[in-house]
């Protein structure tokens, strides 16, 4: 039987030392080498037995004085079972490690000799201390690592699904209510009316003429280029004739303002659609 404290030595070396220490013991026994393990620090012991491998008792918990785990298992050349154990002493004192062990086959642990180990504490006797006094890992808060992973996975899936559903359910906002911009005819109407009444100012005359250009541009389906459009409007038989009369009225030197009847006739093509469009 061998016992050492951490750091953990090479496995082969450990097994060799265990074998040497066990050589004086009776077959299927282990012995304490006399060293003490420090409380809270992992110790190591090798148990050789003719009856099988040993392992930690399944009911050991954080309240037990000794915690044991199997580090390695092997077979000796003579057929004995070799079990390398790691243990942590929670309380200071001398303990028989057998109390924390069971055979794999469930047989009595008394079949091996006592495995006495001493756990020593580096702290004062009255110093309050707890080997396991540490904050629980986050996983333990939510019930374990697997559960935490499960929750994360569920959220991972649910969030995009929820977003997709929300988008799918969201209805497009109603289009903003915008007052339709006045059409060329809408803008022409008051100017034509005032022209017939011979009440146009210079500014209104200018706007009237340019709106007439815009009207013919739309009516003849001309491009947005106003320069090219005005050339084509002037060559159009109907539009050209009417616009030249307007030009003569508005731009010719000494040109008299036409009478109301003449203006009515001149601007009639632009008044008809207005009337038709009216409800």
């Amino acid at each position: 039987m061998s016992r050492r404290s951490c750091p953990r030595p090479h496995r082969g070396f450990s097994m060799l030392m265990g074998s040497l220490l066990m050589s004086a013991a009776a077959a299927g026994s282990s012995t304490l080498d006399g060293d003490a393990a420090t409380r809270g620090i992992t110790g190591r012991i090798v148990v050789e037995s003719e009856h099988g491998h040993v392992r930690g008792r399944p009911d050991l918990d954080l309240d037990s004085s000794i915690l044991v785990r199997v580090a390695d298992r092997d077979h000796a050349d003579d057929g004995r079972w070799i079990t390398e154990l790691e243990f942590i002493g929670v309380d200071a004192g001398v303990f028989d490690l057998r109390e924390s062990l069971v055979f794999d086959d469930g047989g009595s642990i008394d079949r091996i000799p006592p495995l006495m180990i001493e756990i020593v504490s580096n702290l004062a006797t009255d110093a309050p201390s707890d080997v396991f006094l540490a904050e629980a890992p986050p996983a333990s808060i939510v019930g374990g690592y697997r559960r935490l992973l499960f929750v994360v996975a569920v959220i991972w899936i649910l969030v995009p699904v929820a977003v997709a559903i929300r988008r799918w359910l969201r209805r497009p906002p109603p289009p903003p209510i915008v007052a339709p911009s006045p059409t060329v005819l809408d803008r022409l109407e008051p100017l034509v009316r005032r022209a017939v009444d011979r009440e146009l100012t210079v500014e209104e005359r200018g706007r009237l003429e340019l709106l007439l250009h815009a009207h013919w541009r739309g009516r003849l389906g001309l491009a947005d280029d106003p320069v090219e459009a005005v050339r084509r409007i002037r060559t159009d038989p109907e539009a050209g004739r009417l616009l030249r009369r307007v030009e003569s009225w508005l731009h010719a030197p000494g040109g008299r303002t036409p009478s109301a009847a003449e203006l009515g006739e001149l601007l009639a093509p632009y008044r008809e659609p207005v009337r038709e469009a009216a409800p």
């Binding site: 340019l210 709106l211 947005d224 106003p226 005005v230 731009h251």
Partner: protein
């Protein structure tokens, strides 16, 4: 250049004849480019100056020389380079060794029609000297001030492609040009005609030797008009009527350039004056006794575009001055 139903005055019909005759005289040498001829005539008739932009090889020099020949104008050309000096343009005082006195050597600015080729290649100092001469129509050499001949028209050219090693004209200088016209390549048929004419050029003999004739040698030497005809035409342009409505349209167009959200710099009042004057000349050329919206619409691009500057946002969006102007014209009413 016919404009039916608008010609009532014989004097304006003479204007149409004047323009048509010059145009056909130029057409014997230069194929196409009728719009450029019209713009040169507008500049001549109004005393404005013209900036031509176009790639090399589209007959800018030939065209200007042909127009000058058609009206019997004295023509000179300056190729602007980085090492040009102001005295190379306006002239200088030189010491006459025989008399021992300084005498005036007049520079090429003393002419009727001055072609300033690639004006943006000269230093700003030289550009300023020319632009001052354009504005004041007089130059100072030594202690003496000399009036430039009348008419005096500067037609400057710029190559829009090669900008390396050039000095871009600032807006204030560009504003002095009444019109800036961009020349396009000729159409396919026009270019074919140019090539055909080139095939007909023969050799020009000089003594026993000879050199191939160029298009410049083919310029019609006869001048159907003279300076006095141009002066008469200029007087008639001043008789072209401009209505209040027309003035209002032009001023509104110019004003809108100052408030457009895509423009950092709008047009100056000089633009409105140029637009009205140029429209007047165009009306005269088209045989009308009054200006109509077609005139300022046709000239708006040449008058406005070199006087506006797009802001950074508009440039980042890939907007062009043409787009903005078109938008303004479409919304003018």
């Amino acid at each position: 250049m016919n404009d039916s139903n608008a010609t009532t005055d014989p004097s304006t019909a003479a204007g149409e004849t004047f323009a048509r005759t010059v145009s056909s005289s130029v057409a014997r040498t230069v194929v196409g480019q009728e719009v450029v001829v019209e713009r040169i005539l507008i500049a001549l008739l109004t005393g404005g100056h013209l900036l031509l932009e176009g790639v090399p090889g589209i007959a800018k020099t030939l065209l200007v020389q042909a127009v000058g020949r058609a009206i019997d104008l004295e023509f000179k050309r300056i190729q602007f380079t980085i090492d040009l000096l102001p005295s190379d343009i306006v002239g200088s005082e030189i010491l006459d060794p025989e008399s021992g006195r300084f005498r005036i050597h007049k520079g090429p600015a003393f002419t009727n029609l001055l072609l300033a080729d690639e004006i943006n290649r000269a230093s700003p100092k030289v550009q300023s000297a020319l632009l001052e001469a354009m504005q004041e129509r007089r130059v100072s050499i030594g202690d003496t001030t000399h009036d430039l001949p009348a008419p005096f028209l500067v037609i400057a050219t710029q190559n829009p492609v090669e900008q390396a090693g050039t000095f871009e004209l600032p807006e204030a200088q560009l504003d002095r040009f009444m019109l800036r016209h961009r020349l396009d390549y000729p159409t396919f048929d026009q270019e074919a005609e140019v090539v055909r004419r080139g095939l007909q050029l023969k050799l020009k003999r000089q003594g026993d030797g000879a050199v191939p004739m160029s298009a410049f040698d083919a310029i019609d030497e006869s001048s159907p008009f003279h300076i006095r005809d141009l002066t008469q035409a200029m007087e008639r342009v001043l008789e072209v009527h401009v209505s209040d409505v027309f003035v209002r349209d032009c001023v509104e167009l110019v004003t809108l350039t100052r408030s457009h959200p895509d423009l950092e710099l709008g047009c100056s009042p000089r633009a409105a004056i140029a637009l009205v004057n140029a429209s007047r000349a165009r009306a005269f050329i088209h045989g009308r006794e009054y200006a109509i919206p077609e005139d300022f619409l046709a000239l708006a691009e040449d008058v406005v575009l070199h006087r506006i500057r797009l802001n950074y946002e508009a440039l980042a969006e890939g907007r062009r001055g043409e787009d903005v102007l078109r938008e303004i014209l479409a919304n003018l009413a």
